[in-house]
Amino acid sequence: MIQVDHLTKHYGPVTAIEDVSFGVEKGKIVGFLGPNGAGKSTAMRILSCFMPASGGTARIAGFDVFSQSMEVRRRIGYLPENAPLYPELPVAAYLDFVAEIKGVPRRERRARVAEVMERCFITDMQRRLIGRLSKGYRQRVGLAQALLGDPEVLILDEPTIGLDPKQIAEIRRLIRSLAGQHTVILSTHILPEVSMVCDGVIIINRGRIVAQGTEDQLVEQVFPTSRVAIGVAAQAEAVERELHAVPGVLGVEGRETRDGVAAFVVESPRGRDVRGDLVRLVTSRGWPLLELHQVGMSLEEVFIRVVAGEEASGPAESVEAPAAPAEAP
């Protein structure tokens, strides 16, 4: 549905995005993840036909965003960053304007506007001036205008920014419900949002794509081993030596020893569970086992590793140390 090839954008001497390529299948929700200034908004502005790329191509539903811009625009709903709206207009009047400019037939207009207001929970606010609304409501009006005209593709730049936790949950549920009929590309820097809402992730940093795939794929790519945390009340050096000897253990990372507890993270090949062997070892030595659990790698850790790894422009090991303490129970 969305096909982007070698997209590049320069603002004068500044390169906003460089050689970005990805594809999104119909009905999927893809999260664009990246630190501030990574080029997320630039990519979305190009996809929404607001500005052209300096190089490369982008196609939506088979139409080129530059040469067939009108065809593309008929098929997209766009929510720019910070939902820019006309503060002097009442909500319903504004949405009526959007419906008309998007070519919703006159007879259906009222019903369509009512429908999107319902979906975005703004029906109660329809007579209010947009300028009088809180940030959260404005954001939802922005989302409502994107949904008008029932576009095949939705491009949402930070759709949940400025909302309170309850509203965030509602909007996420709304976006989730769009999957299937609509193809959605949304940007965010809230990591759990991607896990909750998106089918796929594209991590972008300094204008380049540094990782893409489903969350599980990314975790596997970035952390090829599975990890088990173990805490034993014993002398740390002895325990570490013994742990290394367990079959299947690839590495042992020492963590802080506190109150006589030696804590480690044991790495093993993915799919090989070493927990049974570890318990047998510990009990045979008579060490009191205080803690044993699998360390699940979340997108957050993937993101930190990938982005920080980029920043250090070196191998991933360089960020091992700061990443580990964050997992302390």
């Binding site: 502005r45 500005m51 400019i101």
Partner: protein
């Protein structure tokens, strides 16, 4: 054509905010003041003419009331029109709404047309209200309605030119004040440049006379429909709108 929703939106913004009312009020107050002053002067002249009959020749109401009124109104417009147009693109750019507007399935030209026609409609409304003045003169004296018609046609063309220059400058900046002031500056320069014609000679004189924006209004207020003047306003309008369109498109290239 998708200019209609843009037109409607701009009208809502004009009348939903104080812009239309403030501009309308002051335009009517000031042009009304000019009208009354001209009328008082005419009144005085006619009393003098009653004592000195040879002065009566200059007492043609069309010539002595409406012609100076039109010329005064064109100067008042020069001050007011920049305030009607300065918001149109600059505000959309500042607030970012242009990003949405230009990604809807509507051509840049249609957006421009919608905005131009909205500003034009507001202007036509203001002009319609001033029809009261020739109406009053017509009630008490014999007026050449043909000259009134050409006078208003001239004002329409003049105002349309002011509006298109304003739209052009509004499309070039995201600061309303800059847009308004630059429009005003350009229009003022185009007005006063005509004064230089008096001291210039040869080709320069002809050029200055031709460029001067309000001078072309004079033949209309005399009741003369001169193609030279019609062409002047229409080309100026088309040229400014064309540049405005280019400036909108340039935004797409530069980002």
């Amino acid at each position: 054509m998708r200019w209609w929703p843009v037109f409607k939106k701009e009208m809502r913004l004009y009348f939903g905010s104080p812009v239309a009312y403030v501009v309308g009020t002051f335009f009517l107050v000031i042009s009304g003041w000019f009208f009354s002053q001209i009328l008082f002067f005419y009144n005085m002249s006619s009393m003098q003419a009653a004592m000195q009959p040879q002065m009566g020749q200059s007492l043609n109401p069309t010539e002595a009331i409406l012609r100076p009124l039109f010329s005064n109104m064109s100067v008042v417009l020069l001050f007011f029109m920049p305030m009607v147009t300065m918001r149109l693109f600059a505000e959309e750019k500042r607030s970012g709404t242009i990003e949405l507007l230009l990604t809807y399935p509507v051509r840049d030209g249609e957006v421009l047309l919608g905005k131009f026609l909205a500003a034009g409609a507001l202007y036509v409304l203001l002009l319609a209200l001033t029809l009261l003045y020739p109406g009053m003169v017509g009630y008490f004296a014999r007026v050449e309605w043909g000259a009134v018609l050409t006078g208003y046609l001239g004002l329409l063309l003049l105002g349309g030119t002011f509006l298109s220059v304003g739209l052009l400058l509004s499309s070039m900046t995201e600061n309303q004040i800059v847009a308004g002031f630059a429009t005003f500056g350009i229009l003022l320069a185009l007005w006063v440049v005509g004064w230089g014609a008096d001291f210039a000679g040869g080709t320069l004189r002809t050029v200055l006379q031709y460029v001067a924006i309000t001078d072309h209004m004079d033949s209309f207020s005399k009741g003369v429909l001169d193609t030279k003047d019609v062409v002047y306003y229409l080309t100026a309008m088309a040229f400014a709108l064309f540049l405005a369109l280019r400036s909108l498109e340039a935004k797409r290239w530069k980002g």
